[in-house]
Every structure is written in structure tokens, then in C-alpha cells.
Amino acid sequence: MQSVEQASGAQNPVVPPASEPDQVWFDMAWNLFLRAEQSNRRVEAFYFRLAGQVICLRFAGPALFQAISGAFEHLACSPVNNPALTICCWDDVSTGVSTPEPEFTSHTQGTEFVDGSVRLTFEPACQLFSGYDRARQLGLLHFASVEAVPGWVWGSPAREILHWWSSGSGLQLVHAAAVGTPEGVALLIGRGGSGKSTTALACLGSSLQYLSDDYCLLSFDGEPRVHSLYGTAKADANSIARLPRLQSAFAGSTIHVQGKTVLHLAEYFPQLIREPVPLRALVVPKIVGGGECRLDPIPAAAALRALAPSTMFQLAGDRSKIFERLADLVRRIPCWQLSLGPNPDAAQPLLADLISREIPRS
């Protein structure tokens, strides 16, 4: 794990005078982070490279370091002076600051989202605050305490902030698993429970390599490419039982959230794909129980139904843009249905053959 003390890149952006209520709140939270950081007397920062750009995670103390940075360990890089995005992470309990809770309008469940001069979300159930100011390339990620960090954060931390940042950079965060080779990958798409995670996890340690079991990033310059985002894997006991190659790795993890064990993969599977890879196929898994595992072509619209809603409705903001981008994607990439039988390993040769066939011949 890389911990950098007060790296030169972890500078404080210039703060212009705020006037909008959302900007005022953002600045107040930002100042509280700085206060927490000063009281810690030590800045801890972690740098990683995503889609060719360097992102800095800056911590006001050590408490959150592992929870947040562990998911990006596979993308770690050297510090830079001007990262494309700095995400400041803190919690009140370990740092001794008292970040006020937003006063709500009427909602007590879910997430409040403001799309103004800055973007803000607040989840009252876990007191998670996320903020993003594009002008300052600055994200804020606040928790009440380490104990209050919601389970999904361990697998996909700073998801909203990375969505906002990437969406404005011509990239798209998608709800999809991805497996393949350095020459091409297949995206496994569909709502939770469709079999995409188990199929992707079954590829760990096989001839097919792994990019993601839940979220990844797409770029659209030239041919669409898939970028690894989170180097994590999540599985419940039932899935782990069906993945014998992974049982010892999952047994070694101490991160258990909401009935699932979370694995930081870099330490167990150093052969993870880290570089962007051309997207060769969109694959919609479907659990059929008995019968053989098989691939069948499907209309692009069926792939859009599998990919777009489950991505759009998990993310705050830019939903129209997401839909348009993903519609354009399904028009360009071959779409398939993967019928899954009881053996998750059976999909690997089919996917390997599919990816191989879709690689353009020179």
C-alpha cells in the first residue's frame, strides 16, 4: 500500500468567493476537511492512474485509507503535481471535527442530489456526503465514522464523484462486469443477480483475464475501450462455493459487508488487466439452470435494455447523456445473450472464442 506524506500534488485549490447555497455548503465542507487534515498533522495521499489521468485520494487521517484506496491499489502510480482530480476523504469520529448534517427537505430514504454549480449527494441512512466541483477538480467524500462506511463503498468507493468527473471528461461509468484479454474484452451487462459477477469471477485465474465484476469505465475516442476501475471482487457464500479457485483468497479477506465478502484483488491476482482494452462484445447473461452454456446473438435494443437502466438509475445526474451514449454503444458493438448453466467455468471458452472472433484481422 502506498502512503505518501504531503505530496507536492496535494495542494489546496484556490477557493473563489461562493454565492450559491450549494457552493457555500461545499466550501464549508472543504474547510472542515482542511481543519481535520491540519489536526492530523500528516497528509496521507494515494495516487492512481485512471483512463490516462492521475487522480489523488487525500485523507485527513489514516482511518479511511485502506477502505478507500484499497480498491485502486492495482492502478497505483507515482505522485504528480497537478492531478486531474483530487478527492478529499475524512470522517468525523477519527479526526475530531464535526461536519454538520444537511437539513433535509422531506426525504429520509435514499440519496439527496443537488445538480448546481457544484454537485452534492447526501445519504441520510449512512450519513455519506459526496461533493464535486468541476472548476476546482475537487471531490469531497465524508463519512460520520469508519464504522458508518456503507458496505458498497468497500467495493466501489467514490462512485458518484468518479461518475461526475468521468462524465465530464468524455468517459462513461457503467454497471457491468468485464473479462477478456489485452486484445479485447466482453462487457457482461444486466441488473444485479443476472449472473454477470459470478461469470466474471470464474475467469479469475483462468485463461481469460478480469477487469471488473460490477463497474468499469468506457472511453469512446475511436473504438470504444474499457478501463479497469475498481480492483475488487464481491461474492456471497453461495457464489464462493461455486468458485473453488477463489475460495482461499476469499477466506483470507476480512471485509464482510451485507452478506458478501469483498476482496482487494491486486494482492491475489497480479495479472489483472490495467490498461484500456478495446470492447469487442456486449454480453447479457441469463441464468437458465439446466442445459448447456451457449451464446446467441440478440438485437441491440435488448442489450440497451440490459445496460442502460441499471447504469442510469444507480447514478446521480447526466442520465439523459448516459442513455444517449449507451444507445450509441450498442449500435456499434455486437450483442449476445449468454445462457448460463450450473457451471460458471463453462462460459470461459465461449467468451474467449467470441472475443477472438470479434478482433479485427489486420
Binding site: D22, E101, F113, G116, L304, A327, V330
Partner: protein, 140 residues
């Protein structure tokens, strides 16, 4: 009567002649079957319901009254789901449609998918105005 897309709450894409519609507020999404995509396209081009019926029925071998009834029913469904809203603009009612009729009428239907509503019920995202965001407490 003319209709328009219930924008910005509804988005739609035509992918290989299959229309996918997403209601961003309810989380429901839809696909159109039968002659639904053709009718949808004419509506979004700004043709009023009479022009749509004439256009579809004129090119189809089906009974005119049957086509009219089915199209009116379909428009009612689209309205009831909040996908289209009445507009004042009927400039296109006498204009020529931008596409040629298929000549084959199949009763249109709206296939609705509600699986995302579960997600929205468990973990909804409420978009609020910037003025609705909490005030800064004075002691901070």
C-alpha cells in the same frame, strides 16, 4: 391533437428500428412492438392523431376503423404512462410525413419493464433544487 415527448422526464432512442423509452422519474422503461415504432416516430415528428391514423391506415390493408381504434388506444397508453404530453403545435398535421408507411399494420403495444422500480424504492435518488440544499449552520 398533437403530442410531444414528455421531456426532460422521458428519453428515447431508436435502435435498429426498435424504440426504447425510459421514464427517468418512475424508473420504468419500455419498448414498442407491432406498428408502435412507426406511430411513435410520426408522433415525434409532430403529426396530430388524425394525421397519424390517416398515414398508417392509408398504407395498410387493415380495416380503417380498426386501425383508428388501435392507434387511439395506443396513444392513450403512452399518455397514461406519462411518455407523451399534448402540445399546442399542430403545424405538421397537414405536412407530409418524413417517412413512408410500412404498408403493414400490426396492433401496437407498449412493453413495460418495472424491474428498476425496486432499486428506486430501496435506494431512490431525490433531485432537489440548490435552494433546497441545507443551509450552512452559523456555528460552522
Amino acid at each position: 391533437m398533437t403530442f410531444g415527448l414528455n421531456s426532460p422526464h422521458v428519453v428515447q432512442e431508436d435502435v435498429d428500428n426498435e424504440v426504447i423509452i425510459v421514464h427517468l422519474v418512475t424508473g420504468s422503461y419500455y419498448s414498442l412492438t407491432g406498428s408502435g415504432a412507426e406511430i411513435w416516430s410520426l408522433i415525434l415528428q409532430g403529426h396530430d392523431n388524425t394525421a397519424v391514423i390517416e398515414r398508417i391506415a392509408g398504407g395498410a390493408s387493415a380495416d380503417h376503423q380498426h386501425v383508428a381504434t388501435e392507434i387511439e388506444r395506443f396513444l392513450g397508453e403512452l399518455q397514461a404512462e406519462g411518455l407523451i404530453v399534448p402540445t399546442q403545435d399542430n403545424l405538421r398535421s397537414i405536412a407530409q410525413p418524413d417517412s413512408t408507411p410500412s404498408g403493414h399494420f400490426v396492433s401496437p403495444s407498449l412493453q413495460k419493464y418495472s424491474d428498476m422500480q425496486e432499486l428506486l424504492l430501496v435506494d431512490p435518488i431525490h433531485e432537489v433544487e440548490t435552494t433546497g440544499w441545507p443551509k450552512v449552520l452559523t456555528n460552522h
